[in-house]
Amino acid sequence: MTPELGQLALILALFLAIAQSVLPLIGAWRGNRALMAIARPAATGQAVFVALAFAILVWAFLHFDFSVLYVATNSNLQLPWYYRVAAVWGAHEGSMLLWVLILNVWTLALVLLSRRLPEAFLARVLAVLGIISTGFLCFILFTSNPFARLLPMPADGGDLNPVLQDPGMTFHPPVLYMGYVGFSVAFAFSIAALLGGSMEQAWVRWARPWTNAAWGFLSCGIVAGSWWAYAELGWGGWWFWDPVENASFMPWLVGVALIHAQAVTEKRGSLRAWTILLSLFAFSLSLLGTFLVRSGILTSVHAFASDPRRGTYILCFLAFVVGGSLLLYALRAPKVAGGKAFALISRESAILVGNLMFTVAAAMVLLGTLFPLLGDALNLGKISVGPPYFGLLFPLLMLPVVLLLPFGPYLRWGKSDLPGLKQVLVRVAVAAAACALIAAFFVQGQLKAIAGVASAVWVGVGVTLYVIKRWREMSAGRRYPAEMTGMLLAHVGVAVFLIGVMLSESLSVTRDVRLAPGQVAAIGGYEFRFDGVTQATGPNWTAEQGVVTVTRNGSPVAVMHPQKRTYAREQVQTTSAIDPGITRDIYVALGEPMDPNHVEGAWALRLYTKPFIRWIWGGGLLMMLGGFVSAADRRFRLKREVEAAQPSTVTLKESQA
């Protein structure tokens, strides 16, 4: 009975979503306050019913309700409870439900935190979110119902894909979706601003904290995904330019451009139309990402949905959202243009260059990701685009960004003068050159590593110089407002990330070796002794567990236990062993027995030393923190007195006028 209640809750949520999308729009158009007032209670009610449906699905998983097809496909009696909860979003239907749930979480947050927004504007924003929610609820109810029954009920279910049975996987999808869906708020603000016309110029300031927070979540989700690929997939790589990864990376890139463009628009009024366009793109790419990952149009680990209605629906919905918003943009954008002029050397120009690079990079990734589809449509044969395509183009596109980054905070809005910048240039250049020279002695002439150290120092010293300048020139309490702290944190994150990427890419040592028990292999200054294989068991798997003792110059470093697990349904999964460290990771993965009938004999092992790889995720987390800290700035809180208290935001009055 309960699964039907879940479905009923979804249907009720759909009706509320329709009410939330239609009535407030009419109200805002006609100036009818009663209709506008429907938006908030409708959104709240919808959130309650979606949460109820989600809770019922979780409950079905926890209580082994195999009469529900989705539960029976993705869990079994041996699966521990925490992975049964994670299995809720382990496949298509449940992850769509999670998407809608998170959309409702954002909408509810907006309802609670935006009481001070103008009534008509909030009504339009909530209506746009209601339209998106309606689209997804229809998709779930008509094509991917998670509550579909399976009769007769099987005694035991299938299994959650073993690669998903990892702590990183319980955490990664919800956080990633928080980011994806968060861009819907910026999208809704933009659409509402377009609908409202030039009346609402302050909307960018209201949208900024939401965009920053969404981007922070997206950064966190990507870091979690990268970490999971590193730890769980057993290949020791942290980024593969796989379609699934690209799907989350494209909105992130556009998101970077968007949060910078929003800053320009808020402070100076310029680039308004561009900011709106970027928020449309960011959300469209999020939608595309959701569907790319879940539909499997692209060759990834799964085939295209067996139900052709799904594909058709997805295409229609994407066309409606992207086409509709672009049409509205074409009709209304000329009215919102304006703002202050800026000179060639100004903060606006620097941000614009960065924006161009990030959007071109997103377009480049999009082309590479969708090229197999394009090739298929044009009958070019079965093509895939190799990682070197991205590996060549992405660093080239990011080079100008890294070069400009130290100067960003020093540049003035409108027009900047050169002498001040020259001093910064000399200092960061000397620091970068000096550190590169020192690094050259340690990295055996690896150009990539030297370039990595130089670029990281270039960025890091630039940021540090600015921190010192603020400390000297400003009075206590005004030195580092949250918005600026966030910016500085994210920029330091770039430096940390650069160290991680360039050093681990150039200095990592990987070796596939064949080792009999007792044999030793030496790589990267460490000796790895293979001590044979024993049996191990877990809640729903059995494993062959290798023992590898790592020493350095004879002194012990770590004893590692890489596993090769066999799950309940005969699926095999490699679980690597990692000895973490700030300056290096040691990573061992168990390959296969050289003679399958003789597991106590020699095995193939994959051994790695990976210097500084953790800095990659450290940098990503700093960027995430930057997004959150910026979003928390008091200036963004909707209070009237804030405007008077902050002299740096005089321009707000202009943009509101």
Binding site: L352, K382, V385
Partner: protein
């Protein structure tokens, strides 16, 4: 020129330059990195001769996996309905690599052998990658490939 026009001109020139440079680079990089997928019979028919590196897709023939006794070198045979191709690989095979399973290997031809630099077997017991299925269907029009394999699978 007034400042607004000058600003717009600078903007447009900047955008155009960026677009041209990016387009040129993208075309170059795409040309270098497009990997075509062929089945053994297509390779034997000479379809792949103009590509240095390509991807070979098919099924691993039962009983063909041979491991060298002192290194990680492994040889196996990839087949489709009418073609046979010996493959040599030096490294660790993926978890899902098994006999009678579909496999995609990236590499180049060395005489009559295919030397793989990467071997992928991203599938489970019933599943065959869609593009491989299409390629095999194209190579043998009329021969049906298990339709039941085409299901929605969980996704990392």
């Amino acid at each position: 020129m007034n400042p607004t026009r000058q600003r717009r001109l600078t903007l447009i020139i900047a955008i155009l330059t960026a677009v041209i440079v990016a387009a040129a680079l993208v075309v170059y990089a795409l040309q270098q990195n497009m990997n075509y997928l062929f089945t053994p019979s297509q390779v034997q028919a000479g379809d792949a001769t103009s590509y240095k590196t390509f991807r070979l897709g098919g099924m691993v023939k039962a009983g063909s996996i041979q491991r060298s006794s002192d290194s990680l070198k492994v040889t196996f045979t990839v087949v489709d309905a009418s073609g046979v191709m010996p493959v040599e690989y030096n490294g660790i095979l993926p978890d899902l690599f098994r006999e009678n399973q579909s496999v995609i290997a990236t590499g180049h031809m060395d005489g009559a052998r295919f030397v793989a630099t990467e071997v992928l077997a991203k599938h489970d017991e019933t599943y065959m990658p869609k593009e491989l299925k299409d390629a095999m269907a194209k190579a043998h029009a009329g021969k049906r490939i298990d339709e039941a394999a085409n299901q929605d699978k969980p996704q990392p």
